[in-house]
Amino acid sequence: MAELSPASQDQSSRPRRFGLGMTDARFGLLLSLPVAAILILLNLYPFLYSFWLALRDIDLRFGIDEFTGLDNFRKTLESQDVRDAMWRTVKYSVQVTVYSTLLGLGMAILLNEKFHGRTLLTALILLPWAVSTYAAGIVWRFLLSTETGLFPAVLFRLGITDRPPNLMNIDTALTWIAIAHTWHIAPLGVFFMLATLQVIPQDLYRVGRIDKLNAIGRFRHVTLPYLKAPLLIVLILNTISAVNVFDLIYFTTAGGPGAATRVMTYEVYTTAFLNLRLGLGAAEAWLLLILVILVTLAYVRVLYRKEKKISTGEAAA
């Protein structure tokens, strides 16, 4: 007859830590409770509260606070300023998305090649991403300024212009800020795409060579199919980042010259904070939110299949 081993006796004499009642479901709920609380109190509640605010005419400066229904939304939709700002946001976002995605792709392809200093360069390109948007704004403000800027000085020294030109003018300011934004955000896409490039089997390129594909052909038929999904996600993330731009504008042009860089976030900032009309500002923010949600939904759609895979995949393992 067998007897219980000593180890088993050790075990049975010890008090139970989490009782029999601890199931996977309860464990999951218990551990995600703090995060759920944060999401509800600091994300969901303010989100609903902002809708409540949008239904009121709240003018802190003049102590006005009354329920006006959908009036703020009507004003927002009718406002030419808002329409212009929305259009600028779209123009800006498209620029940022295109520049940063293309640049990110280019840098990823470059960093996937073998050359001396590749490791260092890979490490360096993280820096613009690490220093945040406001710092990117400051840095580019100084680069572009007519008085102290590098670019105008170079153009002047090279004799291309007869004095340091004003690059940030009413026509070009938005584009320059988009370039600054690109400088800041492109690295994120680089890492994402580089990770994908590095898992493409080299054999596929060998097969490509055997099948007499040139470099462009190999990119189209081997690289691109792999990059499709990450590329799409990078596109969407860059777009969201661009739509939400604020610090960059605040630190460079503050909406000017004229209204050239008054994007939607700046419009919301002006209404809600400079003018302290929180209700109207909240309504404008909702318009911005809808734009972001549309982009995010695309994101969710891309990820949806993977998400489904993970939840059933757990069960099978």
């Binding site: 007859m1 067998a2 000593p6 180890a7 088993s8 029999l20 059933t312 099978a316």
Partner: protein, 372 residues
């Protein structure tokens, strides 16, 4: 092999089932694991053997049914309270601890004193010949060493039940053979109930006291390796067990002493009368499926009459002192193993006879083995 005895430390699975959503991983499993035996859970991937093992370990809760460790019901007891130890396919060694820390971890979590841990670790590392590895990092070990460490880690606790989940599948073939013998040796020394999961029937046959064969979440058969080989419960087990696949020959036995149609009548041979009688005693149907292991297929250059089938050598493989022939009979194929030194060439015409006393017969519909 020993007769099952109803000891107080036997492990019982009563009507255990596990569902994942609509997927049924294990279906109404009835199994008794005897005290101190080495039971191998054998089956192809997806057969439910790993789920069964996880339920034994307490890593999964059964959807229905009960699990008993001796007189203790453990159905819903989580792993940490079950006193089981487990060796994983991926070794599952903690990378943040060294070998010594890994081996002692399970004891430490159970509050064993430091001195006892040190003593046990040194005992077990001696048993597994890994004393010199104790202060190494996990990343510095080879695959075989890792496996030994993970076995040591499991054994050090002297668990009530020792589970091994395909422990050798990520190790190369030669080492795997060594470790098989090792496992048998260890089992003899530690005298603990072991459940060993594998999809490799050769491995199962070579180490098991008893083998439990599973398929599609169902238990097909339990028994000592030889009995599985000799008396498979059904055609599937017969095909699954054995170094070379069993030849499956659909047959219409016809009249006693007459010719039987094989392979849906595409060829005919005379069936041994003794065999015919035994089949006739077991079933009314004349249509059965014959299971002929390749070692019971005889190949000769000359025909022995009506009991021989004409065939052609399609391919041959030399397996050391034996030769495996793939023989073509019309459009059908039969495998045969001979240990005779007589060679046949590819494309040579040969004659095939069955060693009738060793031919198995299965019900053509249920595929259950006919007790003949």
């Amino acid at each position: 092999m020993q007769q099952p005895e109803t000891g107080s430390n036997n492990i019982r699975l009563n009507h255990v089932a596990k569902h994942f959503g609509s997927e049924v991983a294990v279906k109404d499993l009835e199994l008794e694991i005897e005290d101190k035996e080495l039971l191998v859970l054998l089956g192809p991937s997806g057969c439910g053997k790993t789920t069964t093992m996880n339920m034994l370990a307490g890593l999964e809760e059964p959807t229905s049914g009960e699990i008993w460790f001796g007189s203790r019901q453990v159905t819903n007891v989580p792993a940490e309270q079950r006193d089981v130890a487990m060796v994983f396919q991926t070794f599952a060694l903690y990378p943040h601890l060294n070998v010594r820390g890994n081996i002692g971890f399970g004891l430490k979590t159970r509050g064993t004193s430091k001195d006892v841990i040190a003593q046990r670790v040194s005992e077990i590392s001696h048993l597994l010949h890994i004393e010199e590895l104790l202060d190494r990092k996990i990343t510095e070990l080879s695959g075989g060493q890792r496996q030994r460490v993970s076995i040591a880690k499991a054994l050090v606790r002297k668990p009530f039940l020792f589970l091994l989940d395909e422990p050798f599948s990520s190790i190369d073939a030669i080492l795997r053979r060594e470790l098989r013998t090792e496992i048998v040796r260890i089992h003899r020394e530690v005298k603990t109930t072991m459940v060993f999961v594998t999809h490799d029937q050769e491995e199962a046959m070579s180490i098991a006291d008893r083998v439990a064969v599973m398929r599609g979440g169902e238990l097909m058969q339990v028994g000592p390796p030889l009995s599985l080989y000799d008396e498979p419960a059904n055609l599937w087990v017969a095909k699954f067990i054995g170094a070379q696949p069993t030849n499956v020959v659909p047959a219409n036995l016809g009249e006693r002493g007459g010719m039987a149609g094989l392979f849906d009548g595409s060829c005919a041979m005379q069936v041994d009368e003794g065999f015919f009688d035994r089949v006739a005693a077991a079933t009314d149907s004349r249509t059965v499926t014959l299971g002929v292991r390749p070692e019971f297929v005889e190949v000769s250059a000359a025909s022995r009459g009506a009991s021989s089938l004409a065939a052609r050598v399609y391919t041959l493989q030399v397996l050391g002192n034996q030769i495996l022939y793939d023989l073509e009979i019309g459009t059908n194929h039969l495998l045969a193993i001979t240990s005779s030194r007589e060679h046949f060439r590819v494309d040579q015409s040969v004659f095939v006879d069955f060693d009738w006393p060793n031919v198995m017969a299965f019900d053509a519909v249920s595929e259950a083995r006919l007790k003949i």
